[in-house]
Amino acid sequence: MDDNKIKDIPENEDLSESVQDEANITEQDEGVLITAPEDNDIDSSEENKEELCILCEKNAPDKSYGEDYDLCTECRQNLIRSRFRFKGILALIAVLGCVMWSCTFLANQGTSIEAINEGYKYLKESKLNSALQSFGTVSAMGWKTARNLVDVCTDLGSIDNANYLLTSYFYDENAVDENGQPVTLLWIEKIGKSDINSSANKDIKQTYEFINRINGYANKYSGLFYQYYEQLQYGVITPSDIPYDDIIKQYNEMEAKAETNEEKGVITYYKLAISSICNADTKIQYDYCIKLSELLPECKWMYTENLVMLSIKMGKHDDAKALIADLRTTNPENAYADLYEGISFRYQGKYDEAMKIFETIIADVENNQILDIYYEALVCQFMAGNYEKAYEYATLCFENREYLTYDILYFYAMLSEQLGVEGGYDAAADLLATNNEKLSPTVDKYIKGEITAEQLFKNGEVVFE
């Protein structure tokens, strides 16, 4: 050993122990590269030993490393080049494998992490739609992300999404079945999910419980509504075929038996829905909506937007303005709030102000996805007497079938004739003919001058036969 180097080291208990250990190393240890000389050798050839390397006992020690250095150059080189242990190399390969795996996954998850960071940034700014869009692109979504997303969905009124997130990423340890017996969950079912009862989830537990209750009531009372709604959707019946009075009567009977405001609120919600699809009087719908807001005040998503439109139709523009402001408080970038504001201006006859808002929405339509905006802009320009502008919107919708509705198609046919554009009317009729349908008689009446532009509207709404 190099005593010259060791002597620089202060006396230390650990060091002395270590040196002592060195002397005790025996041949039985597989990895030992230095073996202690046997006692007999020390006794028998003390004079020679000083001159020879303690390992090979053949060459003289290399004294260039110090006078007391006891290894020869060859043995020293051998010790420097001592081979690496296989298990060390194996461990390093395994660890490097883990590093590769980790980096590969992180590379794949990079976009998710960025989207989540962006989502949180939008959440801080209360930009709920943008946050929802950012979170929506996350592929590696976990319960932590889901927890934030539940809040966003609830605030936006996207209860179906909130419900999906709650059932996918959370479990209820205290859940009971229909008979009141605890539901036993396997541990495997809990992987990747969070217990809704944990303190971390206290914010969304209320939502979870509320959605469960509402879902229960909805299952109980939705049958009557969906029985007709689905037929209407598939074109089996028309709104006039729905026994509106009978349905309302049945719902009233259910409401009389309902115990809680939530239950009554859900029933009122379906009454409002059926009155809406049956085109019941605006006043009736408005009253249902007001009642719903009183029964379930916290569920703004159930009534606010309906109430805004009904207030506008009822001419209560100040109420509508307050509700629009409320929508913006929850979500400053709510494009629907802008849409309703524009519609409110249109109903008040302030077409220029309405068009400014509509054009802003159209400029960002790829982002806000409000396709109805083209219809609103068209109607606004038509009511303002700007028929050419209205025709531009109608043409745009006709060419891009994604935006096209029956009403827009009727306007396209009417305006084509009015502005003397050849082929427009026929193209609209041909399009309908492919579906065995015809243009509304109102279109022909307008073209023949039997009705005026003003007569096309009833309470601000276009009425095609």
Binding site: M1, D2, K5, I6, D8, I9, P10, N12, D14, L15, S18, D21, E30, G31, V32, L33, I34, L71, R76, L79, I80, R81, S82, F84, R85, K87, G88, L90, A91, L92, A94, V95, C98, V99, W101, S102, C103, T104, F105, L106, A107, N108, Q109, G110, S112, I113, E114, N117, V138, A140, M141, G142, W143, K144, T145, A146, Y169, I188, I191, G192
Partner: protein
């Protein structure tokens, strides 16, 4: 105390093995004879190699510092994956994907869900363990720390200032590791990290997207070369 020390090294054997291997590599680079290259043993040298004293101040410092640094970098890279998935995303799935051919042969895909989810979870916690095992083997053995302390006095003032944080860290770490305390401290820190993720997640999530950026950059270069 040796019992705790050896136990901590055995529990964290991947880190102990790589640390000892890195020490041996350093010895070879610095041309320092290795006297005993057993990596795992049942005495105070467990997780380290026995070598001649290094007589150069800088080499002595680097010998103690670099193996620990390498272990730290490996631990950080490995630990980032479970850290981001568990604490940032709360995501515990999607790491194990069976080949499409295999999934098509299974009539009910839900049959695969349980084993896949178990494997997903096992991978996450395996990575946590490997990362902790590497992190609990950052510091030199007390003998090397004592040698480094003596050699440190011979360093020029400028290097002393530069090396000071590492020097202090290694001196304290070596004494903690002597009693097997690094593992316990690390477990406590992990618990703290779990309880207060918001303290570091914004920073961590910025680092976690680096592999994705590198991947995108490499992909761009590859496409440029391929379609040039």
């Amino acid at each position: 105390m040796t019992v705790f020390y050896v136990l901590s090294k055995i529990l964290t054997f991947p880190g102990a093995l790589t640390k000892a291997l890195f020490e041996q590599i350093m010895c070879r680079i610095f041309k320092c004879p290795v006297e005993d290259n057993r990596y795992l043993r049942t005495d105070k040298m467990c997780g380290h190699i026995e070598h001649e004293a290094i007589n150069s101040p800088v080499k002595s410092y680097l010998f103690c510092f670099i193996p620990g640094l390498l272990n730290f970098l490996l631990a950080f890279t490995i630990g980032l994956f479970p850290l981001v998935n568990i604490l940032n995303l709360g995501n515990y799935s999607g790491f194990v994907v069976f080949p499409q051919e295999m999934t098509q042969t299974v009539q009910n895909p839900e049959m695969l869900e349980a084993p896949v989810r178990t494997l997903d979870l096992a991978i996450l916690f395996f990575f946590v363990w490997v990362s902790i095992s590497l992190l609990s083997n950052l510091f030199p053995i007390i003998k090397d720390a004592v040698i480094m302390k003596e050699q440190y006095k011979k360093l020029p003032v400028a290097l002393k200032v530069i090396f000071y944080p590492g020097y202090i860290g290694m001196q304290i770490g070596a004494r903690l590791e002597k009693f097997g305390l690094t593992l316990l401290i690390l477990i406590a820190l992990t618990a703290f990290a779990v309880i207060y993720p918001d303290l570091y997640i914004p920073f961590i999530s910025q680092i976690a997207i680096i592999p994705s950026k590198i991947s995108a950059f490499v992909n761009k270069i590859y496409l440029d070369i391929t379609y040039r």
